[in-house]
């Protein structure tokens, strides 16, 4: 790029290549040739942000437009921020090095609540007004999307509009309208009014929220005639025909996931009741094996990556997997390109597949029972029984694996100490399975690594009304589990910081009032709060105290099902009625079969096409598709 930051500064910071761009497949255009300049920001450090598939998709898609130049910007790491502030350097994009504040749009991708303070910091470093209401005509339109946008309220004061749903679905239309609007010299408010009429576009300033005495929501009123009372999430109907990049950027820097990421399908059939993504990405939309191979061939040729990773919420549910894996292995193993398959269900098929993938070394196996007892697993609708786990382990031990990773959560609704102790019991039973396998067959020595994260009740799940544990309770459970696991000498236990989960819990289900807290915490210097060495709980405590607000209101308070929730005027597609039913079934310990077994009517996935309801875009609801 045309460096606007001097080498003198770049030489003094860690990994300067985070700020210099110019990677293979990064897009070069002449800014003078386009009508729209779009700065796409992943509010984390480059190494994290560049690993995100959504960025590659939208970057490629927007740059397909000849009238638009989409450039990237990330949160500068703290050393760079210091240098920028010392030298009064405004935040710039990687492609041209131009200042973000000169752009038409600044779009944030919201993947994780703990990046919210980074969002504010990016605005500030760019020299853009933090609050939406203060932004002048010469400032960029600030928008946001991504999974966290499904409860947009915490950032409502800072973002001009949210894109609710798949970015591929509506952005083109928004940009078409903007181009027209810019030519006619319209005001930013007029533009926001125009796009507020589109599905999936939420302009928070057009809604007024009134509160009851105790802080719950009394009403959410539309105060601009262009806005809709409820904003529906937009989705791509067919992933076989929607945009997928054939030339993703190849970073110079070794990023977190530096490889080809091939999305196999969107949505999930499982319906685990704690899982935000499992509900928010519905309905199920798959790609055919042919589409996947075509996309893969292009990416392999254009990137030179030596690893392919298949991603989805549950790749084992893809019935085309055996065929796809065969094709990939046959075609690419000769070229020394390896295949990695995260989060497979452990059974004969997957073990056989893994055997073929790694001819010599056996990596560890991962199970995600999520809860320690069958009672709890039924409550959360994790369709995995103890027998299945033990059978999977036995098969694995017979196949020569001897390292097992187990993922759990603590603090789930209705959890008792027995459920925590159950985690250690399960580990003990797995060790027992190992010793049942004859010495001549099993590999020497077994190790079990247990990770138990602190449960965060999320919006748009059946547990959205539930209470979250306070951090003292999480920490007590962590000590209990640690003591129990000490009794199983082959097992290790890894903790997570409970306080980070508490703040994540607050933000996930917060309303607009929290905006002031986020602002104050950022003012106190909070940055990169997803990094444990940067997270500072006391800043949040102070901000709540200073504003006369309570964290308990957001995290430990149990909501009634008839309470107006901050995200009720956003419709992700899964109906509230379905979520209530799921919550009630959870309390009774009843499981809900996955969508493959039975359609549970979670929502109406038909679309309005010219006033007529289309066929459902959910493959399961239609009774077709590849997951059968």
């Amino acid at each position: 790029m045309d460096k606007k930051v001097s080498d003198y500064i770049l030489k003094q910071v860690e990994k300067p290549v985070r700020y210099t761009g110019g990677e293979y497949n990064s897009v070069v255009k002449n800014p003078g040739d386009v009508d729209i300049r779009f700065a796409f920001c992943f509010p984390e450090v480059y190494d994290i942000g560049m690993s995100y598939l959504g960025l590659q998709i939208l970057y490629g898609m927007l740059n397909e437009r000849s009238d638009t130049y989409c450039e990237r910007v990330f949160a500068p790491w703290v050393d760079m921020e210091t240098k920028m502030r010392e030298n009064d350097i405004k935040l710039f994009t990687l492609e041209t090095g131009d200042e973000v504040r000169k752009f038409d749009f600044l779009g944030f991708n919201l993947l994780y609540e703990m990046t919210y303070t980074n969002v504010l910091n990016v605005l500030d470093l760019s020299g853009i007004s933090i609050y939406s209401k203060d932004r002048g005509e010469d400032e960029p339109i600030v928008c946001a999307g991504g999974p966290c946008a499904n409860n947009p309220e915490p950032l409502a004061d800072f973002i001009d509009f949210f894109n609710i749903g798949d970015g591929e679905a509506k952005l083109d239309e928004v940009l078409d309208l903007y181009k027209e609007h810019k030519k006619s010299g319209g005001k930013r408010r007029e533009f926001l009014e125009k796009i507020a009429r589109l599905d999936g576009i939420y302009v928070p300033a057009f809604y007024d929220v009134k509160y009851n005495e105790y802080g719950t929501i009394k009403s959410v009123d539309v105060i601009n005639e262009n806005a809709k009372p409820v904003v529906g999430r937009v989705v791509v109907a067919d992933l076989n025909t929607s945009y997928f990049p054939d030339k993703p950027i190849v970073p110079f820097l070794e990023t977190v996931h530096n490889r080809i990421t091939l999305e196999v399908f969107r949505g999930c059939i499982r319906g685990c009741r704690f899982c935000n993504a499992g509900f928010m990405y519905r309905p199920i939309r798959t790609k055919s094996v042919d589409t996947l191979m075509k996309q893969l061939d292009a990416q392999v040729k254009n990137t030179g990556f030596e690893e392919i990773s298949l991603v989805s919420l549950s790749t084992s549910d893809y019935s085309g997997l055996p065929e796809l894996a065969d094709k990939i292995i046959n075609k690419y193993s000769k070229q020394h390109i390896s295949l990695s398959l995260p989060s497979l269900r452990i059974d004969e098929f997957s073990l056989d597949l893994m055997n073929r993938l790694q001819e010599v070394r056996k990596s560890g196996l991962t199970f995600a029972p999520e809860a320690g007892t069958q009672r709890m697993r039924d409550m959360i609708n994790k369709g995995l029984t103890e027998e299945e786990i033990l059978e999977g382990c036995r098969l694995a031990f017979e196949g020569g694996w001897n390292r097992v990773k187990l993922y759990f959560m603590m603090g789930l609704p209705g959890e008792t100490d027995e459920d925590i102790i159950g985690i250690a019991d399960l580990a003990r039973k797995i060790v027992g399975e190992y010793f049942k396998v004859p010495k001549e067959i099993r590999a020497n020595g077994i190790s079990i690594n247990i990770s138990a994260s602190c449960y965060v009740p999320k919006h748009n799940t059946p547990f959205q009304w539930e209470s979250q544990n306070i951090h003292e309770e999480f920490e007590r459970k962590q000590r209990l589990l640690r003591d129990e696991i000490k009794k199983v000498k082959q097992a290790n236990y890894k903790y997570h910081d409970a306080k980070t989960s508490v703040v994540e819990g607050v933000l996930s289900r917060a309303d607009r009032k929290i905006g002031k807290i986020i602002y104050d915490v950022w003012k106190k210097g909070a940055r990169f709060e997803g990094w444990s060495d940067h997270f500072d709980y006391t800043k949040w405590q102070e901000a709540f105290l200073e504003n006369g607000m309570s964290m308990d209101f957001y995290n430990t308070r149990k909501r009634e099902v008839d309470e107006i929730l901050p995200w009720d005027h956003i419709n992700v597609g899964v109906s509230k009625k379905f979520l209530v039913k799921e919550k009630e079934k959870a309390l009774r310990g009843e499981v809900t079969p996955n969508c493959k077994v039975k359609c549970n009517r979670c929502g109406d996935w038909r679309r309005d096409v010219g006033g007529v309801k289309s066929e459902s875009i959910c493959e399961m609801q239609r009774g077709g598709g590849i997951i059968l």
Binding site: Y8, P16, V17, V250, F252, E254, Q335, H336
Partner: protein, 219 residues
Amino acid sequence: MKYRAKFTKGDNVKFVGHLDLLRSIQRTINRAGIFIKYSWGFNPHQVFSIAQPLSVGQTSLGEYMDFELMEDISEDEVKQKLNAVAPRGIEILKVRRLNESEKKVAALVEYGEYKVILDKDIRDEQIKNFMLQDKIEVDKETKSGTKRVDIKGDIVNLKAQGNVLHTTISTGSMQNLKIELLVETLYKYVGFEYDEYKIDVERQDLYYMHEGKTLKKLI
């Protein structure tokens, strides 16, 4: 079939660290569709070696790497195929086939020629006096602590024109003088304040000593 390529590390990639550069070259080779030989073992990897890494932030007009291909392709074709898919800033300047018996670049390289843009002007006479010293002693960090060493023998030539320094110094696995250390030492001698971030280094080429008297380029 063994090959040696000479390439640039331009402004666009000057902050790319050595390991990241290796990975970028590996991916460039993959994209080029030329089949490089892989090592044996648990973790097969492409076999190629690079002569004397540059420090992060420095550019070069003459970097070298050796690699072995599974097929016999013309030197020109290798060059063209790599250039078609190389990241901006990396340009293959020359490719030559190697004989089986030729030394690898990493073992062959002995000298490097550099152009350094300084933040201050240096006079001819200051350079002359610097070079007229009997010994040019510096503290060098070694595994067993700091050692006082004479670097005079490592400097083949040293010239200055205003704020531009031209020099050829030992750059190799046997004998090596870091260009930054030379500039720092010179600054100290002249009485300038040295700020490593204000110095721009561009490597011009790499050489070996041919029959003990002339410097020859690696290709």
